[in-house]
Amino acid sequence: MTDGGWLANGPLFDLPLADIWFGLVFFIFAMFLFLDGFDFGVGLLFATREDSHEREQLLAAIGPFWDGNEVWLVVFGGALFAAFPAVYGNLFSRHYLLMFAILGALIIRGLAPEMYEQRHDENWQRWWGRAFIVGSVTAPFFLGMFTANWLVGATTIITLPSLVVGLTVVALTVVDGVAFLRLKTRGELRADLRTDGYRALGAYLVLVVLTLAYIAVAVPDLRSALVSPLVVALIVLTLILAGVYAVATSRDRYYVAFVAAAGLVFSLVSIVAGLMYPAIDPAVGLTVDAAIVSTVPLNLMSIGAGLLLPLIFIYFGVLYSAFSGPIDVEESY
């Protein structure tokens, strides 16, 4: 296979691979935000529980899953690097301190539950419990800030949209976390979570409206994209899914509520992608077609992703079905 061989003869099957990878990168991001999102949500809900047995239940619920969920972030980074190297370099170095804030928050969030379980004295668990809450709230908040700055092309970290979107993402992770926990817990805890779900959903809808209003008023570049059929449809879909979530939560249709939460996450990420396209790094006006990697690696990665992503869904299927239903505290090793 010298000189790339057939891989160098233009895009595979003449597919619009640049656009496909744009979609794929956001799809992977949405998978991360949906899956690790409920872990973050569990972290915030952890703050609302005083009882140590209930707290243990929350940790047990995410125990087998969170590590796999977080790998979607690694894959997001890898996919962006592989498909749009210029974006990978520019975007992360431009938001240098914010990136390290996200990474720091993820370290605390990942470490805290492991540490919490190590010792059972009160002081130790109080501090690691706090660390878990702080990491779980700041990680999605910073991620939201990052996403907003990416979308509107901001070069400073703290901007009005970044703060609002940060809160929006935090609220969404709680919506997600409640839906997940109602699948994984029992009894009183499960019933109590219903109210948390309504509140988080309400907060989320208000914050989404604020974000969209801000874009309509203050970001002229995105105004026309905001009223494009796709984005309008996604906004309507968000409202419908919110209704489904609320009804399913009140009637204890746990799976339906969980699927609705997933839908809300995917809708939000799709709105971001829809607003951004055809740019992929609006701050420097870089478009998808200009940023795409050269033909040989593009074709190679497309084959790789095409073969591997279905396998990954099988792994997750095996994992989530092995742990279907409520999870008890003492399960391990």
Binding site: G4, V71, V74, G77, G104, R119, M301, P326
Partner: protein
């Protein structure tokens, strides 16, 4: 405030040096855990269940800390080395993406089952999970080392210039991914991981055996620790000689492909033939320590040894000295002494293997207190040798981030300020050291509490899961 280049390099060094400990633990433990799980399922003997459960705990905490420290590394290419990432994305992004999709996903999902799922899944799926986790960790190293080895011996690319910026284009993926360095690196690294974990097993086992048999403290689970010592020793006997053997071939390969690095490893400044190999070198002054020169240093040299090693048998072979290469030079002292310390440790591990093997054959494995002390003291030294090896590899290739294509100083993000880089360097140094301390603390607690009591299998049957989860009204 440091310059962005210095701060970025230091930050990458600190984060990688701490991070590498955890993948070494998980890659090295993987074959042991697969074996313990297999024997546990097949024989049902309590000792294998204990071994599996105990080392799974250590594996799990290593994996978690490895994940959180590793994610930072992936993003550091974008944050700190943006020019490199943009220019070499063709070659570098792919392996990282494949690592995530092919290896890390496999490992992380099946680890959930392996750690938490013993009571939920049957033997077959449990065994599959153990193997999948093991394959995941080893595949992960494949892609990381493909990326790294390409920077050392780049192949399969074309150079172009875009807007005055150098861009590397991938033209032949096979040549690039299977570049000449890859296989040496992979074999040397994976064997090192198993050897390091073998030393951890042998060292911890020796500690408890020593306390029990030499000092006479009553120790619970003596059999567990004796078995741990024996498994560590078996693995050490297999891996220690191999490590030195292919290490030698690897060094020869470096001589052929990265002569500047090789000259730094040997501190040879002038081009010469019939170069001696200083198997033992003593710094007799500060000057020797900070600026070693092979010709001046006090040591035991084998005449023509370095030439013989580098060329594979010709004591007259010429070695190009550092003076032949245009500056800047790699920090020679760090490379020279790290290389010597690593090789010294490699031989020390062989000695331990032979010594332990001899005592075992003679039936005196549990009685030789000096051997136990030596093994105890060597517990962390395998991992330390891995650090030294990576220092030789990464410091020794300076000033290049991609050998002969791009200098490290040219690869750093252009919009990064010294203040930003110094702030994160300081912050993440503190965070990573704290992570390391916490990791050691947790491992020490696990070790101190010893292996879990074997479960009475008739009692651990789970009660039927209540059928209240699907859409039923509470």
């Amino acid at each position: 405030m440091l310059e962005p280049v210095a701060a970025s390099r230091l930050q990458f060094a600190v984060t990688t040096i701490v991070h590498i400990i955890f993948p070494v633990m998980s890659m090295g433990l993987a074959p042991f855990l697969i074996y313990f799980t297999w024997k546990d399922i097949r024989t049902g003997k309590p000792i294998y269940e204990q071994l599996r459960r105990f080392w799974t705990k250590i594996f799990a905490i290593s994996f978690v800390v490895g994940t959180v420290t590793g994610i930072v590394l992936e993003f550091e290419f974008g944050t700190n080395f943006a020019v490199f990432s943009t220019a070499a994305g063709d070659l570098f992004g792919g392996p990282l993406a494949l690592e995530g999709m092919m290896a890390f996903m496999l490992e992380a999902t099946f680890l959930g089952i392996f750690v938490f799922g013993r009571q939920r899944v049957g033997n077959v799926l449990y065994m599959i999970s153990a193997v999948a986790v093991g394959i995941g960790t080893w595949l992960s190293a494949v892609w990381i080392l493909v990326a790294n080895s390409w920077m050392q011996t780049p192949r399969g690319y074309e150079l172009a210039s875009e807007n005055g910026q150098q861009v590397v284009t991938l033209v032949d993926p096979l040549a690039a991914y299977l570049n000449p360095r890859f296989i040496w690196m992979y074999v040397h690294m994976q064997n090192a991981a198993v050897e390091s974990v073998a030393l951890v097993l042998a060292g911890l086992g020796a500690y408890f055996v020593f306390r029990h048999h030499i000092w006479g403290y009553p120790i619970e689970n003596v059999e567990f620790w004796e078995t741990t010592l024996k498994f560590g020793l078996i693995a050490l006997i297999i891996t220690a000689p191999l490590q030195v053997l292919h290490g030698d071939l690897y060094a020869r390969h470096v001589f052929e492909t990265q002569p500047q690095k090789f000259a730094a490893m040997e501190a040879i400044w002038e081009t010469e033939s019939y170069v001696p190999e200083y198997i033992i070198a003593f710094p007799t002054s500060m000057q020797d320590l900070l600026d070693p020169r092979a010709k001046d240093i006090f040591g035991i040299g084998i005449p023509g040894g370095a030439s013989w090693l580098a060329s594979g048998g010709d004591p007259q072979a010429t070695i190009r000295g550092l003076e032949e290469f245009e500056g800047p030079q790699p920090p020679v002292a760090l490379v020279f002494w790290s290389f010597r310390a690593m090789v010294g440790l490699g031989f020390w591990f062989i000695l331990l293997a032979v010594w332990g093997g001899y005592r075992w054959v003679r039936g005196q494995l549990l009685e030789d207190d000096l051997l136990h002390l030596a093994l105890m003291a060597s517990t962390p030294l395998g991992i330390f040798a891995v650090h030294l090896g990576w220092v030789v590899t990464e410091v020794g290739r300076q000033p290049w981030i991609i050998q002969d294509i791009m200098k490290t100083s040219a690869g750093v993000s252009s919009d990064l300020t010294g203040t930003e880089a110094t702030v994160t360097l300081a912050g993440f140094t503190v965070v990573y050291l704290a992570l390391l301390v916490l990791y050691l603390y947790v491992v020490a607690r696990i070790v101190r509490s010893g292996p879990p009591a074997p479960a009475d299998r008739t009692v651990t049957e789970r009660p039927e899961t209540p059928t209240d989860e699907v859409g039923a009204d509470d």
